[in-house]
């Protein structure tokens, strides 16, 4: 049999039918829903008089719009001050009730960011196809699943048919060899990768992350990396299944049990690329050469090591790139040649589907413990990814470390990653953020986002500007 990549195997095992024109019908095992991209899909079902094909594959939770202060959350949906946000959260509840879909509501401890909740519950498993109306669905590829974001029409399509009409992507391998230095995290790895391949470098590809760095990376770290595959243009990011994956999945509420578990584990042994599998494109990085990363511009590819200086557009040979850099520097209020460590910060955000899991919070807490947030900062937020992450962090006393240091400890949700709720940047404010996008206006109108790891964000909160966490105390 011809050797296959992990992506080939996942694709082949979900192919329902290939049409003569090359378009394929792909079966979907898990469909995750949230309040922003689903209402129009449910409305479409109602108008057409259609029912969901397989209700048990759907799992919903509100995350984008939910408030994150304990006061607002204590009274349920009535605590959502913004009436338009409230309608979306209420509508998700109504739709799930009408169609019989399991929903973790705002006050359920299992509620959280959909990409944190799925793996945490064992609702996303190795070998599955996982989709959600959210581009960061690639997160679940860390489980050795085929996971990607879809639009609302496709949300409706999956609800109605359990399938998607797809064209196969090409295979890309991003291999990171060697070992990461101390203080260098999965977030730095993925930012460094995007810096190399660019924000459109993965367009049309499914990326598999491989090599020693990923073999020794935790599941949560793998999720951080796969999460940002879309920031390199790839809808799909994934890591092959190994013992780390299986240990992570075992015993979770939705994971198979007993005999089913043994069957599943046996089947999952094959969920990796064959040794001689061919990729259409291979990128290799040296893990030991990766330093903590900071984005300086308005695209995730505008990224540099923390010790670098803001680049000079006049030295860029490509005209289109140079004009993009000039525009970015103007928006960001930065000067060419300025040291990254001289960028003064107004706010710090630790959270998002990229970096709000327990390991992220532990890393941030370890940095801030015994320190105080810089007086020049207006706000430093820590927003756990789910109610269960929050409970775990509190059991470990992390919340006390954060609040003693002057950071705010919040309720779970997407929060300042995209600022659909009240957590946002003011115009012109610089933010060290553990989220995934530094686009213009993403975290608030006129806001200036710098993407970093949780440890780097924590160190920046204490210093008031960027510092190299490797030499921070």
């Amino acid at each position: 049999m011809a050797s296959k990549t992990l992506y080939d195997k996942l694709w082949d095992s979900h192919l329902v039918k290939q049409q003569d024109d090359g378009s394929c019908l792909i079966y979907i095992d898990r469909h995750l829903l949230h309040e922003v991209t689903s209402p129009q899909a449910f409305e479409g079902l109602r108008i057409a008089g259609r029912k969901p094909w397989r209700i048990d594959t759907n799992l919903a939770t509100p995350d984008h719009n939910v408030p994150t202060t304990a006061d607002e959350r204590s009274i349920g949906v009535d605590g959502i001050a913004d009436p338009v946000s409230k309608i979306q959260v209420v509508t998700l509840g109504d739709n799930c009730a009408e169609f019989g879909i399991t929903e973790f509501k705002m006050q359920d401890t299992r509620q959280g960011i959909v990409h944190v909740v799925g793996p945490e519950q064992g609702a996303t498993l190795p070998g599955m196809t996982v989709v959600c109306g959210d581009s960061h669905t690639a997160t679940h590829g860390a489980m050795g699943a085929l996971a990607h974001g879809i639009g609302t029409s496709e949300v409706e399509h999956v609800l109605a048919t359990q399938c998607l009409i797809q064209k196969k992507s090409q295979n890309m391998l991003v291999r990171v060899d060697g070992e990461l230095g101390a203080g260098v995290t999965p977030k730095d790895v993925v930012l460094a990768i995007i810096g190399v391949i660019g924000t459109a470098g993965g367009t049309g590809y499914a990326i598999e992350f491989g090599g020693q760095v990923f073999e020794s990376m935790s599941m949560e770290g793998r999720m951080t990396v796969c999460n940002m595959a879309i920031e390199a243009g790839a809808r799909v990011g994934m890591v092959g299944v190994d013992q780390t994956t299986i240990d992570y999945v075992k015993g979770r509420p939705f994971s198979p049990k007993g005999e089913s578990w043994d069957l599943a584990v046996a089947a999952w042994q094959d969920l990796h690329s064959d040794a001689d599998a061919e990729f259409d494109h291979v990128v290799v990085l040296d893990g030991s050469a990766i330093a903590p990363q900071v984005t300086w511009g308005t695209s995730p590819e505008m990224v540099l090591p923390v010790f670098a200086h803001v680049p000079d557009p006049t030295k860029e040979k490509d005209d289109a790139k140079a004009s993009g850099m000039t525009r970015a520097l103007e928006y960001m209020g930065l000067e060419a040649g300025q040291a990254i460590t001289d960028i003064q910060l107004d706010r710090v955000f630790i959270g998002s589907c990229t970096n709000s899991r327990i390991e992220d919070l532990r890393a941030a807490a370890a940095v801030v413990e015994g320190h105080q947030v810089a007086k020049t900062l207006k706000q430093a937020l820590v927003v756990p990814g789910s109610g269960l992450v929050k409970a775990q962090a509190e059991a470990e006393g992390l919340h006390t470390i954060f609040t003693n240091a002057g950071l705010e400890w919040r309720e779970p949700g997407c929060s300042m990653c995209l600022a659909m709720n009240a957590d946002k940047l003011g115009s012109g404010e610089h933010c060290a953020s553990t989220s995934n996008r530094n686009f213009e206006g993403r975290q608030g109108f006129g806001g200036r986002t710098h993407l970093v790891s949780p440890a780097m964000a924590a160190a920046a909160a204490i210093a008031g500007h960027f510092v190299d966490v490797r030499t921070f105390n």
Binding site: V16, K17, Q19, D21, S23, L25, Y27, D29, V36, T37, Q40, A48, R50, W53, H64, N65, D82, V84, I87, Q88, T91, L125, G127, G133, D134, S135, I150, G151, T152, S153, E156, H157, A160, T161, C163, I165, K167, T199, A200, T203, G204, G233, R235, P256, W261, L263, A264, A267, A320, G324, L418, A419, M420, S427, R437, F439, E440, G441, R442, F445
Partner: protein, 213 residues
């Protein structure tokens, strides 16, 4: 879905690479539970000088006179010319909804982000990928002549009206068929219901844990 066969219209050049879907329609407008009404907030942060809010009367807001869509010559444009990696970022289908609601049903660029590209077809918008040189030429054409119009003929898969003559483009045959006929994907897939059920039966034997209630 509205069928797309042929379109003639003013062509507006948006000279900027990596236009993301946050830029096409900012997050505060995603709170709607409808598919329509996003047009006034298309490119909101580029188009207006203030911060837009949902349910606001946008006709009263200060506009950015330098933004291409605010130039009188591009009023009523139906075709958007763009640069590389158009539509990157968030999967929000509100981006094509906003383009359509504004009046754009065709976007021409050297490259598109995958999810956005896919979302266009679900809404009767035709995204056309051309070579960089061809896009450059169309930028020159649309900037040189006031009221410059292109005709996009999907049936023949050509663009007419450029000073460089007819430009052929290619498009996936299934997507072309659906656009030309305004076909609903879901209806087409449901014609495959027997195949889907057959797949489920086979899959349930191989991977029963995926079917546990």
């Amino acid at each position: 879905m509205q069928a797309f066969t042929q379109l003639t219209g003013i062509t507006a050049p948006l000279d900027r690479a990596n236009v993301d879907t946050d830029m096409i329609i900012p997050k505060q407008f995603l709170k709607s539970i409808k598919r329509s009404g996003f047009g006034p907030n298309l490119f909101d942060e580029l188009r207006y000088l203030d911060e837009g809010q949902p349910d606001q009367d946008s006709s009263q807001r200060p506009i950015n006179p330098d933004f291409v869509l605010n130039l009188p010559r591009y009023k009523g444009a139906k075709i958007l010319l763009a640069r590389d990696n158009f539509g990157c970022g968030s999967s929000r289908e509100h981006a094509p909804w906003a383009l359509l609601d504004y009046g754009f049903s065709c976007v021409i660029a050297p490259s598109f982000a995958d999810i956005f590209y896919n979302n266009c077809f679900k809404n009767g918008i035709l995204p056309i990928t051309l070579l960089n040189e061809q896009v450059d030429q169309l930028f020159i054409d649309s900037q040189a002549e006031e009221g410059f119009e292109l005709t996009v003929d999907l049936e023949a898969s050509v663009i007419r009206g450029s000073s460089a003559g007819e430009i052929a483009f290619s498009i996936d045959s299934f997507r072309r068929h659906c656009l030309l006929n305004g076909l609903d994907d879901i209806g087409l897939t449901l014609e495959q219901a027997d195949n889907i059920k057959r797949y489920e039966q086979k899959r349930q034997q191989q991977a029963p844990w995926l079917f546990a209630k």
